[in-house]
């Protein structure tokens, strides 16, 4: 099991992680985009220290530096990568694969009580296996403080299934650096109604339209 997990991490770290290239060199060039959702998110967490923030994306030194620099406590958990751990994936008789929800939730997003003031979900729900999406949003809701905020991105129908998966790095109060990540496949496109249903347990939802094929949402627990 340990060796499977090690190989799994090795796979997603990419070639650069184990072929002796110079450290700190970003393998992929980075783009930048303005984010109204992040601007609102930043405004809501500004002026406070010691907030508990959960980042569900891949480990981003930039995000950690930014958020800890503001005096917050950061928790990092790459749920998309975790969901692809072979120990959770089973092959069905019809050749399709499914993820064992029970096992996944037993190992991931495990926290005690409502402790998070803010969550960065990025566009993880678009790439996550169908079985996990609703359960993940419910689990996140259960660990957020009332009034806590969650930032998420959803692709529009114009983004095809090969829409590249990006790692998001906070570059400023309203700007993000985008770095190409592993070629994960977009699993689905949510329409606004789907998104509202997904977050129906939350008290408020705000949509931000962007120029690219992404909608940003900010929800309040």
């Amino acid at each position: 099991m340990a060796s499977v997990t090690q190989n799994f991490f090795r796979l997603f770290r990419g070639e650069a992680a184990h072929n002796g290239e110079i450290a700190n060199g970003h393998a992929e060039p980075r783009g930048n985009r303005r984010s109204s959702g992040l601007a609102e998110f930043t405004k809501l967490i500004a002026g406070q220290e010691g907030l508990c923030i959960l980042d569900l994306g891949p480990t981003s030194p930039q995000n950690i530096a930014h958020l800890t620099g503001l005096g917050h406590r950061v928790y990092n958990e790459d749920v998309l990568l975790a969901s692809m751990d072979p120990s959770f994936v089973a092959k069905n008789e019809d050749g399709t694969s499914s993820v064992n929800l029970e096992n996944f939730l037993a190992d991931n997003l495990k926290y005690n009580g409502q402790q998070f003031d803010a969550v960065l979900a990025w566009d993880i729900p678009d790439y996550l296996h169908e079985t996990l999406v609703k359960a993940m949003i419910e689990r996140i809701s259960s660990v957020m403080k009332p009034g806590g905020v969650l930032l998420a991105f959803f692709h529009t129908k114009d983004a095809g299934p090969d829409a590249p998966y990006y790692r998001y790095h906070i570059a400023g109060k309203d700007s993000l650096d985008l770095q190409r990540g592993p070629q994960f496949r977009l699993q689905r496109v949510f329409n606004n109604r789907h998104i509202e249903n997904l977050f129906r347990d939350y008290s408020n939802i705000k949509f931000f339209l962007a120029r690219d094929n992404v909608r940003e949402i900010l929800v309040v627990r």
């Binding site: 090690q6 991490f9 770290r13 990419g14 650069a16 992680a17 184990h18 450290a23 700190n24 970003h26 508990c52 480990t59 030194p61 950690i64 800890t68 406590r73 950061v74 928790y75 990092n76 958990e77 790459d78 990568l81 975790a82 495990k110 926290y111 005690n112 402790q115």
Partner: protein
Amino acid sequence: MEPFKQGENFRADVAHIGKSVLVKGELSGSEDLYLDGEVEGSIDLQEHSLTIGPHGRVRANVKARDIVVHGKVDGNIHGTERVELKRSAVLMGDISTQRIIIEDGAFFKGAIDIKKDAKPAAPAVKETPKAFAATASVSSTSTSDSGFAPQASLIQEKKY
């Protein structure tokens, strides 16, 4: 007997635990340590630095002044001054430290708590240096019990 070959990470003034060594138990010391083997239990180097090499596999809570991780750690890390995760690092556990450096490519699952610089009012009492010591058994078949002081954690307490 083959002469000892000095690898690129070898430093004569640092204690080394090689990649074939498995330690189960409480590992403590008062000198810097380079660890490329496996440790299950706890590591406490107080005012000294710990480097976990690329082959290092640690299932323990770790406390040292400076901690540099190239390998894999499953446990909480407390670096009183600095923690550095190299890009080959895989860390499952919480970090608490004053300064942190994370290279792109490192995998981290846990919480980060940055402690503000706290200058002590009185100078810290220096302990008399003692030899590197461990109440640990160094054997692949060891079954020593291990314990550690739990740290505040966002996730459940880790026990080994």
